[in-house]
């Protein structure tokens, strides 16, 4: 998810007015922003299911793109559940069963916590430029924001989505909408940024809607409650031992 989320985040524009950047240049800026240092994020995920709506809060500690540790704080059923990602491996811990389970194979494509995000979405950590070839399709407005429209075509086989279409705010260089598309051309998911905020000079999505278009749910709202950059994260956090603590 970090890639999907931060894939929508860019630095303040570096291109002068009238100068048209290339797709690669836009993605490079996005990727530069992704490679930020340590972060601690508190977030709320509101899963609008077909029958119920659930609100899940969590705190995540992220180091670069390869390491992250999340702890679920609420609701009671999820409280204490922890998730550890190291490189391309993912483990989950549940206090009810006191088990550490590796999430692999087809499970990675399953819904995470009943949301519209999959574990695979959470796992993707490579840069956009490393995995996609961009092509500028033109300009469009989303609301009152003027955006670049880019088509991203996968250049590696093991990427979750074969292609993407992304709308990037020209002024803030912040992605406002993203369509995630399968190899067959079928639209799989959409991400729409509803609210943004400025944190330490970076525009960041505050509230976004993830929608798995293949499911009949009403989408998942992801809200960044707070974000801190360059926080000190002890090394032991990114170990399996910390899952049981």
């Amino acid at each position: 998810m970090k890639k999907l989320l931060i894939g929508l985040v860019c630095l303040v524009p570096v291109f002068g007015s009238g100068q048209t950047p290339t797709g690669e240049e836009i993605l490079k800026q996005v990727d530069t922003n992704i490679m930020s240092g340590n972060r601690a994020i508190t977030s709320t995920m509101v899963v609008h299911g077909r029958r119920t709506t659930r609100t899940i809060t969590s705190k995540s500690w992220i180091q670069g793109t390869n390491k992250s540790f999340s702890e679920y704080l609420a609701p009671a059923r999820e409280k204490g559940t922890k998730m550890l990602k190291l490189e391309d491996q993912l483990w989950m811990y549940s206090p009810q069963s006191d088990r550490i389970i590796r999430i692999a194979g087809h499970m990675l494509r399953q819904s995470m916590m009943g949301s519209d995000l999959s574990y695979e979405d959470m796992m993707e950590d490579r840069s956009l430029l490393e995995t996609y070839t961009p092509e500028i399709l033109g300009s469009e407005s989303i609301g009152d924001r003027d955006c670049w429209v880019l088509k991203l075509s996968a250049k590696v086989d093991d990427v979750a989505y074969h292609s993407q279409k992304i709308w990037i705010d020209k002024e803030r260089m912040l992605g406002l909408k993203q369509d995630l598309i399968a190899k067959s051309g079928k639209l799989l998911k959409t991400i729409t940024i509803k609210e943004v905020f400025l944190v330490e000079g970076r525009w960041y999505p505050k509230r976004m809607i993830f929608k798995d278009v293949l499911s009949k749910g009403k989408g998942t709202e992801f809200i960044i409650d707070s974000i801190e950059y360059d926080v000190d994260i002890p090394d032991y956090i990114f170990s399996k031992a910390s899952l049981r603590k």
């Binding site: 899963v47 299911g49 077909r50 029958r51 119920t52 659930r54 609701p75 059923r77 999820e78 559940t81 483990w91 989950m92 549940s94 009810q96 069963s97 006191d98 088990r99 550490i100 389970i101 590796r102 692999a104 194979g105 087809h106 499970m107 819904s111 995470m112 916590m113 009943g114 949301s115 399996k240």
Partner: protein, 424 residues
């Protein structure tokens, strides 16, 4: 007359031997195919009813629309109330609640971390209630390869093939990773107390069986279930009876706008077996039709050859004044006798083969590695009352039609030419 014809056939074996062989082979195939199809389709219906749909099944409307995905987030609520109503209304029927669920089964190592894991299809059935019919319905006790039936909460049975693959031993812990009815992720610990093999590849590949109460608890489905299954008395399916129950039940809820209101379906609709059953129902007719056509053509040819061989005989019979119609009818009488004898021989052979397939069966598990259909790994024939007489239709019709076609030549013989032909 009949005795005369039979004597003629017995004394001139060339007249009867080949047609009887043809008829016997055709009847043999008809009888065998009828028994085979009856066995396979019957088994498919029974297996589907026992493991998947029941004879009728109550689900929520939303669940029914997506039943192939076993969407437990759309499960039926107020299950206890609905079950007691159904039990009161149809006391002769058996009503059970079931939960089918998907997930990942994870076997821990000594540190409680993943040692092995695999995706599974789980069944929550009533294993622990006294007098539960489910153990018998799903043939659980007889399917146990090692261990025992669950006797305590949180004990499960696991498919024998899966247990081998995961290197699970009896008494080992197994954690189910799945989603609750409300979408939360769950990890629930079970204890493996037995391994099972149903002889149905779709289940044997990776199934776990747990008590429905444990599954309700694990998946946060208190008083909810994927479906309530109803079985007709003696577990014998009758489509008309099922239809009556379904229509009566659904009438009560037809005005409900709630997508989670209950709805009932019957086995044939729920299992998508309708097309197969229709095909199987008309298969006897198709078999008879095909064999009558094929055998008629073969016997027509045999009759023409016989006609050539008996050209002189027919000529003499015409010359001494026997009417053409009489000769034609006598040939038809002969064919009826041939048809009866051929049909008896063919039916006996067909019954023998069908009995062998009924007892021994044909193991097709190698072809079912990836199937999700509820069919047994061993195909068996089933001998029914119809099997005993079905062969007589093609046996008799084909010989009579074949003879009628070949015998038309008799009417083309010119009496004035007979002596000239006989001189030759």
């Amino acid at each position: 007359m009949i005795k005369f014809i039979i004597n003629g056939l017995l004394r001139d074996r060339n007249r009867s031997f080949f047609p009887i062989i043809i008829v016997a082979i055709g009847v043999w195939l008809t009888v065998f195919m009828q028994a085979y199809l009856t066995g396979v389709m019957g088994d498919m219906i029974d297996t589907t009813a026992r493991f998947s749909t029941g004879h009728v099944q109550i689900m929520s409307k939303a669940y029914a629309e997506n039943k192939d995905q076993v969407p437990n987030d759309l499960a039926l609520m107020d299950v206890a109330k609905i079950m007691s109503e159904m039990q009161a209304e149809y006391p002769e029927m058996t009503w059970v609640k079931r939960i089918t669920f998907g997930g990942l089964i994870d076997i821990p190592d000594v540190n409680g971390e993943t040692r092995s894991q695999a995706p599974v299809m789980g069944f929550g059935i009533d294993l622990l209630s006294p007098g539960s019919t489910e153990i018998n319905t799903m043939n659980v006790a007889k399917s146990i390869v090692q261990g025992r039936l669950p006797e305590n909460p949180n004990e499960i049975l696991i498919s024998d093939l899966l247990a081998d693959r995961l290197e699970v031993n009896l008494g080992d812990a197994a954690t189910l990773l799945s989603s609750t009815m409300f979408g939360s992720m769950i990890m629930h610990n079970f204890k493996v107390v037995g391994t099972i093999r149903f002889g149905i590849m779709a289940l044997d590949r990776g199934a776990i069986i747990a008590d429905v109460g444990d599954v309700q608890h694990a998946l946060d489905m208190e008083d909810a279930a994927g479906g309530i299954l109803g079985y007709l008395p003696n577990r014998i399916y009758n489509d008309d009876t099922a239809l009556g129950i379904v229509e009566r039940f659904n009438q009560r809820y037809e005005d409900e706008a709630d997508e989670y209101a209950p709805v009932m379906g019957k086995l044939i609709e729920l299992s998508d077996l309708g097309g197969y059953l229709e095909m199987a129902g008309s298969m006897s007719g198709i078999l008879i039709f095909v064999f009558v056509i094929i055998m008629s053509i073969v016997l027509w040819n045999a009759g023409l050859l016989g006609g050539l061989r008996r050209y002189g005989e027919v000529g003499i019979r015409l010359a001494i004044g026997e009417p053409k119609g009489h000769i034609y009818r006598s040939l038809i009488y002969e064919s009826i006798f041939i048809g009866i004898v051929g049909s008896i021989i063919g039916t006996a052979l067909g019954l023998g083969c069908a009995y062998w397939l009924q007892v021994v069966g044909l193991d097709i598990s190698a072809f079912l590695q990836n199937t999700s259909m509820m069919i047994s790994n061993v195909f068996r024939a089933e001998i029914t009352d119809e099997t005993y007489y079905i062969g007589f239709y093609p046996g008799l019709f084909a010989t009579v039609i074949g003879t009628m076609l070949s015998g038309i030549g008799i009417y083309k013989r010119q009496t004035a030419q007979l002596f000239k032909e006989l001189e030759v």
